[in-house]
């Protein structure tokens, strides 16, 4: 039997899932802090803007956006299948395209900083 090419889509999905598991709690804490008015100096707009100015940071940010969006798209694709939507090719194309479009938009905005 032929080796499946599923690893192409699964690799970034697994990486994104792992990353999200670490990032989501951190983001929640930071958002709560900001909502309560305690924005740490480190997270001030100017600081973050300057941080996103370096090429290495841009690459890391774009990579993070790509992996998290891809992971969500893949999870949704499987959920659709499990819920009985069997047009897998269509669903996969739509969702992965959305993830790629989001990544492209992030890359575009990052490149303008």
């Amino acid at each position: 039997m032929a080796q499946s090419s599923k690893p192409i889509v699964w690799g970034p999905f697994a990486a994104g899932g792992t990353l999200t598991a670490f990032l989501t709690p951190a983001l929640m804490v930071l958002t709560l802090l900001a909502a309560l008015g305690y924005t740490p100096d480190l997270l001030a707009y100017e600081r973050l803007h300057a941080f996103a100015g370096s090429w290495l940071a841009k690459l890391a940010l774009a990579g993070t956006v790509f992996l998290t969006l891809w992971s969500a798209a893949h999870r949704l694709r499987i959920t659709c299948y499990d819920l009985g939507v069997r047009a897998d090719t269509l669903v996969a194309t739509l969702l992965y395209s959305a993830a790629l479009a989001g990544t492209a938009a992030a890359a575009l905005y990052l490149s303008r900083i």
Binding site: M1, Q3, P7, Y81, D82
Partner: protein, 247 residues
């Protein structure tokens, strides 16, 4: 020792004569410390000798008494009556065709098991005079948990993907393939990958984790499958991005 009247609702079906499965109620006096299998045996001995089901060891070793108890895949010999209130509904394992009453047709699983070569394929031939294979405790630990599987098929009854896609090789067979792949004495991984790295192999798993929840031996098949996915992904990237590494 206290007794209790237990109401069982058991699925009955004889494919040769019945148009459709039906439920039959049995009311039996049971000891408080009995398991569901004892209650079924009591029914068979005192009320209805035609009731069919599989069992052998009565001690959670043989793996033959798997059935749905109140909708959950369980070993009948490990399910205590005291943990259930009201009518206890007993059905054959989900996702398998019915042979008769609670007995299922397991040919599909047996064929899949055979396909994944769940036996040691020695990495190097070894003559008798060379003595035994040696393994460190760390090497043993890499696969020991996956040896505990007793082929009870509860994980197949719990797996929604197996229900949706009957071709899926499924949790226990893939975990057993992984058990041998992880063994330092074994060299059969490439042969097993033929089956388990295919689309109907590990890639139908969507990691719902139901298999690990119902496994009575704590094999944790879901963990085995995720490890297989990671290894197959590394294989794939190596083969496609660095083809010169190929032997």
């Amino acid at each position: 020792m206290s007794e209790r009247r237990v109401e069982l609702e058991v699925l009955r079906y004889h494919p040769e004569t019945d148009a459709a499965p039906r439920f039959q109620r049995y009311s039996v006096d049971c000891r408080e410390e009995w398991v569901v299998l004892d209650a079924l045996n009591h029914v068979k001995e005192t009320l209805d000798p035609t009731l069919s089901y599989r069992w052998s060891c009565h001690m959670a070793v043989c793996g033959s008494c798997g059935m749905m108890i109140n909708g959950e895949p369980r070993l009948a010999c490990k399910s205590f009556l005291r943990d259930y209130q009201g009518v206890i509904r007993v059905e054959p394992l989900a996702h398998f065709p019915i042979e008769r009453d609670l007995v299922t047709v397991i040919d599909d699983f047996m064929a899949k098991l055979k396909r994944v070569k769940p036996y040691l394929i020695p990495a190097q031939a070894r003559a008798l005079e060379q003595g035994e294979y040696r393994q460190t405790p760390a090497e043993l630990k890499r696969y020991k948990q996956f040896t505990l599987c007793m082929n009870c098929m509860l994980c197949y009854a719990a797996c929604p993907e197996y229900g949706l896609i009957p071709k899926f090789i499924g949790p226990a067979a893939i975990s057993l393939a992984h058990r041998y792949n992880q063994d330092s004495r074994d060299g059969g991984r490439a042969a097993r990958q033929e089956e388990i790295a295919a689309a109907e192999g590990v890639w139908e798993c969507s990691f719902t984790g139901a298999c690990s929840e119902v496994c009575p031996e704590h094999v944790d098949p879901a963990a085995a499958l995720q490890q297989v996915k990671i290894k197959s992904t590394v294989d794939w990237y190596l083969a496609h991005l660095m083809p010169w590494l190929k032997k």
